[in-house]
């Protein structure tokens, strides 16, 4: 799980000493030539030992940023290397742009050609900036017509996780449940489709995935008893081609004869009904508000489903399929290929919507096509893309609510004493409800072969109460209070080696890390903290090389692109918010620890360290 007490440097020294002793021996003299040959070929072999993005899913970098995950394999890696470890200290802000919005900015700016597109939180304006001008100017602004009442059913700040550019169009979702396509050149709306119903508590915050002429959209609202679904719309017309629910009978979940789950517990008829009390699946959750990855070779999409509703597990006995699990589906028809449930009968709101990075890497000696995902429940899953088999699940954070994952059955092994009980308070549950890592995605660098995971270290007390279902109001049933986990640091930045299945290096942060990571070809890793520090680390050693303080906390995806002048730029939004930053974005009262579903207790110092904002910052090297 974690590396032993010996550091990398000491190991290298020890090996060098051994090498010297060997070369002086008689055996060493005879084996000299073969060894030299072997050593020359070693880099090639080591290269073969390293993980790579899945073939076909991560095309060569063109210097643009067309979707929040950078590519279908979700690497969030920019191959540009002009800014590197030796010159990053000179990185300077080049320009900044105030969006005028003061809620949490989670979306990355998109850069296509010489135009940059920004997406704001509610009311989800899209702003096009012309980068060709010496001082970037606004080309157009698109303001979707939205229902204001949608703000009242957004669980975790009125965020939006980004738009996607494809074929001259921008595709995005609005908070009140619309999917919209606009013309990228003019900002004109081409089509819009109403998918969500805010009267049931349904909103949409996720960034869509556009591939094969389909726009994939999923809903939010797991805290409102919303039945989750993912839909594919035709990119040209906006018509719904297929829609797969996350609970209910097989015909609604699009489970047909081609469904081949790896584990026996996922096989059966209508499990989306049979693993719930009667009627509970209709308000069961399983919303799809996170990240989708796509493998073009097999035409398969991979995505996770959210938590079951309500949080109080006593009201929904059963495994609660198909919530808190990963689906693999055919992008053309929506038919499910396989499913794996990370947290059956979820007890802690451990939505499984985190990113899945599609990699080809050696597992047990041979190359396999896998997806690697830092699970919300604290385990780093390596799952075979074709079969859905869990190849490994190693803890990357502190967990005392589960003993591990049984790889024979795929089941999470819960700790009975940490199960929430009605009318009582269960204390010291780790990881807390946002898990070891929430929505903010990690980045993968093919140069180092490491996954850079910005995540959190929180534990919680939970008092479960009977939840009452009233459509359009929260359906939770839990009083929660969160606080820092072991060590006292609320955030962690981990560089994880997926082949060796352990962390290579780790950085502790005082505040939780709610921002995504960016990896670049200059062997740098970028991320932001909730009090506004935008940092660049050495991707190999984790040494802090550069940082800049922005006017507000950072929860947005940093990007790197090639500007019209050919130089490399790094851009990120400031604008704290989201679930962790709700105390600032929503101006909450720190005296009530149960505010923001328990997060207020862990973030009482945040209002003193940063303020609300919404400004894009762009950095580059001096000319």
């Amino acid at each position: 799980m974690k590396e032993g007490p010996r550091g990398a440097r000491e190991t290298a020294m020890f090996r060098a000493k051994l090498g010297k002793m060997f070369m002086r021996s008689a055996l060493g003299q005879r084996l000299f030539a073969p060894i030299v040959l072997f050593a020359l070929l070693l880099p090639a072999q080591l290269d073969a030992q390293r993980a790579r993005p899945a073939a076909g899913a991560a095309p060569a970098d063109d210097g643009q940023w067309t979707m929040p995950s950078k590519d279908f394999a979700s690497t969030r890696y920019s191959a540009l290397g002009q800014i590197n470890r030796s010159n990053v200290r000179q990185l300077r802000p080049v320009f900044n742009f105030d969006t005028g919005n003061r809620r949490g900015h989670e979306a990355p700016p998109l850069v296509i050609g010489s135009t940059m597109y920004l997406v704001t939180p509610y009311p989800n304006s899209v702003i096009a900036l012309d980068l060709a001008k010496p001082r970037p100017t606004v080309k157009w602004t698109f303001r979707p017509a939205q229902k204001r009442a949608a703000q009242g059913v957004a669980c975790c700040d009125v965020v939006n996780r980004g738009a996607v550019y494809s074929g001259g169009r921008l595709f995005l979702n609005t908070l009140d449940g619309q999917a919209i396509a606009i013309d990228a050149a003019s900002g004109r709306q081409i089509w819009r489709t109403q998918l969500g119903n805010i009267n049931k508590g349904e909103t949409i915050t996720m960034a869509p995935l556009v591939a094969e002429g389909r726009v994939l959209v999923g809903n939010s609202g797991g805290e409102f008893g919303v039945r989750g679904w993912i839909a594919a719309l035709d990119a040209g017309s906006g018509r719904v081609v297929w829609k797969a629910y996350s609970t209910g009978p097989d015909k609604d979940v699009l489970i047909g004869p081609g469904f081949r789950p790896f584990y026996p517990s996922d096989r059966g008829k209508d499990l989306g009904v049979a693993t719930w009390p009667p009627e509970a699946w209709k308000i069961g959750g399983g919303t799809v508000w996170g990240w989708i990855s796509y493998d073009p070779r097999t035409k398969t999409i991979f995505y996770g489903t959210g938590n079951p509703g309500p949080w109080n597990p006593a009201q929904r006995p059963g495994a609660n399929k198909w919530t808190t699990g990963v689906f693999a589906r055919d992008i053309r028809t929506g038919q499910a290929r396989w499913f794996y449930q990370s947290s059956p009968h979820d007890l802690y709101d451990h939505d499984d919507i985190n990113e899945q990075i599609l990699l080809d890497m050696p597992v047990g000696g041979r190359m396999r096509g896998v997806l690697v995902r830092p699970g919300r429940n604290g385990y780093m899953y390596v799952i075979d893309r074709a079969s859905g088999q869990v190849l490994s699940a190693d803890a990357y954070g502190y967990i005392n609510s589960a003993r591990g994952v049984d790889l024979r059955t795929g089941q999470l092994i819960p700790v009975k004493e940490k199960e929430p009980k009605e009318g009582r308070v269960v204390r010291n549950i780790c990881p807390a409800a946002p898990g070891a890592k929430d929505w903010n995605p990690s980045a993968f660098s093919p140069r180092t072969g490491l996954i850079y995971v910005p995540h959190i270290n929180l534990c919680m007390d939970v008092g479960a109460i009977e939840a009452n279902y009233i459509a359009g109001t929260p359906y939770v049933g839990a009083d929660v209070k969160m606080y820092p986990g072991p060590g006292g640091n609320r955030g962690v930045f981990t560089a994880w080696d997926p082949v060796r299945r352990r962390a290579t290096w780790e950085l502790k942060e005082d505040l939780p890390l709610w921002s995504p990571a960016l990896a670049t070809g200059g062997d740098l890793v970028f991320y932001g903290t909730m009090d506004g520090w935008f940092k660049a680390l050495d991707a190999t050693t984790g040494k802090l090389l550069w940082r800049a303080k922005l006017d507000s906390g950072i929860i947005g995806q940093p990007i790197s692109y090639r500007g019209p002048d050919g130089r490399q730029y790094v851009a990120v939004h400031s604008g704290v918010g989201g679930w962790a930053g709700a105390i600032v974005a929503g101006a909450l009262d720190p005296r009530d620890p149960s505010g923001a579903l328990g997060f207020v207790n862990a973030m009482r110092d945040l209002p003193g360290r940063t303020k609300a904002g919404g400004r894009l910052f762009v950095f580059a090297l001096p000319r």
Partner: protein, 174 residues
């Protein structure tokens, strides 16, 4: 019995029975009277709900049942604004809070008219105002019916959450 003894006994009985004033409860929620001409200021129902402990207690129950805790927590806020501070976006008098609850508000407060009765809305308003300690202290509820957020008195120190992972080569205090 001497006459002096009898007199003091009667006086004592009278004194004891004077403490028998009981709070008037109105389980049916009387509607507004037809004749409104004598109304000086504010809604006459203010007094029937504002400082009546029973109505506050019912409001406390309804606050949990109607999922107010889901958005407003126990006054701290979350999806909705905090209710325990002095800032009122749409007015903090009883009638204002009742109107907010029944009619909803533009930026996301749902409308509960037709989903709860007016009496229940008044009970909720009385409880909401108690979150910022507006009613008299003696009518406020004593049992909060929520997770105790202070350390239990029987735990002298927080149980150590022990992390067994060994130290990593890199640590940065920022």
């Amino acid at each position: 019995m001497s006459s002096r003894f009898r007199v003091s006994l009667i006086l004592l009985a009278a004194l004891a029975s004077a403490g028998c004033e009981r709070e008037q409860r109105d389980p049916r929620g009387k509607p507004l009277p037809e004749d409104q001409s004598n109304v000086a200021k504010g809604d006459p129902r203010d007094n029937a709900y504002e400082n009546v402990s029973y109505q506050l207690a019912q409001g406390q129950r309804l606050y949990g049942w109607m999922n107010c805790t889901g958005c407003h927590a126990h006054g701290g806020g979350g999806m909705g604004p905090p209710l325990m501070d002095e800032e009122w976006r749409y007015g903090g008098r009883m009638e204002d809070v009742v109107a907010t609850i029944l009619n909803g508000r533009p930026n996301g407060m749902p409308a509960f008219k037709g989903r709860i009765t007016e009496q229940q809305a008044w009970q909720l308003a009385a409880y909401v105002r108690s979150l910022s300690a507006q009613p008299r202290q003696d009518v406020l509820g004593s049992r909060p019916d929520k997770m105790s957020t202070t350390e239990p008195a029987t735990i002298s120190e927080r149980e150590k959450v022990v992390d067994e992972t060994p130290a990593l080569p890199r640590d940065e205090k920022d």
